[in-house]
């Protein structure tokens, strides 16, 4: 338990991940579903960013005129991964929301159950 208090960033990230996961499974509204997915991704980035942080060290932009010592800066790798990851999740979210918009134009609903019903009816016709 005390470990969880030390790793509170990671714990928060994990709980956020769970919230996103639950949204993905349970939300009937498609937009909520995909936002849940986005929350899942964001939680992972929070986790990564927390893993890169080292107490009392600066961001990894080397100051001019000083020797670059590894003891002065935090770990740059997770920051880079998060940058890459954010762009990936932006693209995925944009794509899925575009799908949702198209579906809304076609079926006039955002509710997955209703869309499925209408799609089945359409298939029979």
């Amino acid at each position: 338990m005390s470990n969880l208090m030390t790793n509170y960033y990671e714990a928060a990230a994990v709980i956020l991940f769970g919230i996103g996961f639950m949204n993905l499974l349970l939300a009937k509204n498609l937009i909520k579903k995909f936002i849940g997915l986005n929350i899942m991704d964001t939680a992972v980035y929070l986790f990564l960013a927390a893993k890169g942080y080292i107490t009392a060290r600066a961001a990894p932009i080397i100051a001019q005129g000083t020797a670059a010592r590894v003891e002065d800066y935090i770990n740059p790798v997770p920051s880079g991964l998060v940058l890459t990851g954010i762009v990936v999740s932006v693209s995925v979210t944009a794509f899925s929301l575009a799908l949702v918009q198209r579906l809304y134009k076609h079926y006039g609903s955002l509710d997955l159950d209703e869309i499925m019903k209408k799609a089945k009816k359409e298939e029979k016709v």
């Binding site: 470990n3 942080y53 990894p60 932009i61 790798v77 880079g80 693209s91 944009a94 918009q101």
Partner: protein, 297 residues
């Protein structure tokens, strides 16, 4: 006809099945047992397994699964290396080299930029491709085929009537562009880079479109320009990076000057790459906005 069908022999059923006229299960065949079964199902539905109960069970199961999942992950987190510790497994020789010789090897003093555009550039290339891919997908999904516009879409072409909003936005737009350029050009020596700068410039474009109507953006930024800027930037990115991969992997001599650290013209290929990325991101961000609202760029 119906009588004949009812009295089909087993062989006839088999022949029909082979011919593909009949599935192997025959739900339509009515017998006494089936009726009882149907009644039983109705009874079960009524008293034990109603639809409401089914959704409730689904809810409970999902919640339970998620709770277990979160529990496992929380336990995992509690055994992970401590937050903020300086001796974590992640602080190893990789980080050491990135920080201590990053400026010397890449010419960029922003180590994160150096990492994503020099050390691990292939990931970033994939990332630019995925942006391109996403915007092309959105074009495939939402771009209108017909020329006529609905009322709702026409609303996006209209100018804003509020004078204060319009004046302020028109002052702000060039400033946003300037700031975006600054962030892109200084990506290798200060926080920022192509992605953030491009997003700022895209926001400027969106603001302009919001206030002056999307028609006014179409004067200088049509679908064709959008596609061309995207393709040319990504192609330039790919060629530059492809060359540096090829030269690096085959140990060819490095001909691109690194410049002195902390100068604007330093960092070798990082500056042009950042500009390419910035262009792609700007087009993509505005493209998303235009396609989602009006269905056309």
């Amino acid at each position: 006809m119906i009588n004949e069908k009812k009295e089909k022999s087993k062989w006839q059923h088999f022949v029909d099945w082979v011919n593909g006229e009949e599935a192997i299960e025959r739900p339509k065949k009515i017998s006494l047992q089936k009726i009882n079964k149907k009644k039983l199902i109705i009874l079960i539905r009524k008293y034990i397994w109603s639809r409401r109960k089914k959704t409730a069970l689904h809810l409970i199961m999902c919640t339970f699964a998620c709770m277990v999942f979160i529990g496992i992950l929380l336990h995992t987190v509690s055994t992970l290396p401590y937050f903020g510790g300086s001796t974590n497994p992640a602080s190893n020789e990789v980080v050491e080299r990135y920080i201590e010789s990053g400026v010397e090897e890449t010419g960029a003093s922003n180590i994160v930029t150096a990492m994503i555009l020099e050390y691990r550039a292939f990931d970033t290339f994939g990332e630019s491709c995925i942006l391109f891919l996403a915007v092309i997908c959105v074009v495939m999904l939402l771009k209108k085929d017909a020329a006529e516009e609905t009322e709702e879409e026409k609303a996006f072409d209209q100018e804003e009537e509020n004078v204060i909003l319009k004046k302020v936005a028109n002052i702000l737009t060039p400033l946003l562009f300037l700031f975006g350029c600054y962030v892109i050009l200084n990506g290798h020596i200060s926080p920022g880079g192509g992605f953030s700068g491009g997003a700022i410039m895209g926001a400027g474009l969106i603001l302009y479109a919001c206030v002056n109507g999307q028609k006014s953006v179409q004067r200088f930024f049509t679908y064709k320009t959008f596609l061309r800027i995207n393709v040319i930037s990504l192609l330039a990115y790919g060629i530059l990076k492809g060359y540096s991969f090829f030269a690096g992997a085959n140990h060819l001599p490095d001909v691109i000057p690194k410049g002195t650290g902390w100068d604007l013209l330093s960092g070798g290929l990082i500056l042009p790459l950042n500009i390419c990325v910035g262009m792609i991101v700007m087009c993509t961000v505005y493209g998303f906005y235009a396609l989602f609202t009006k269905g056309d760029i």
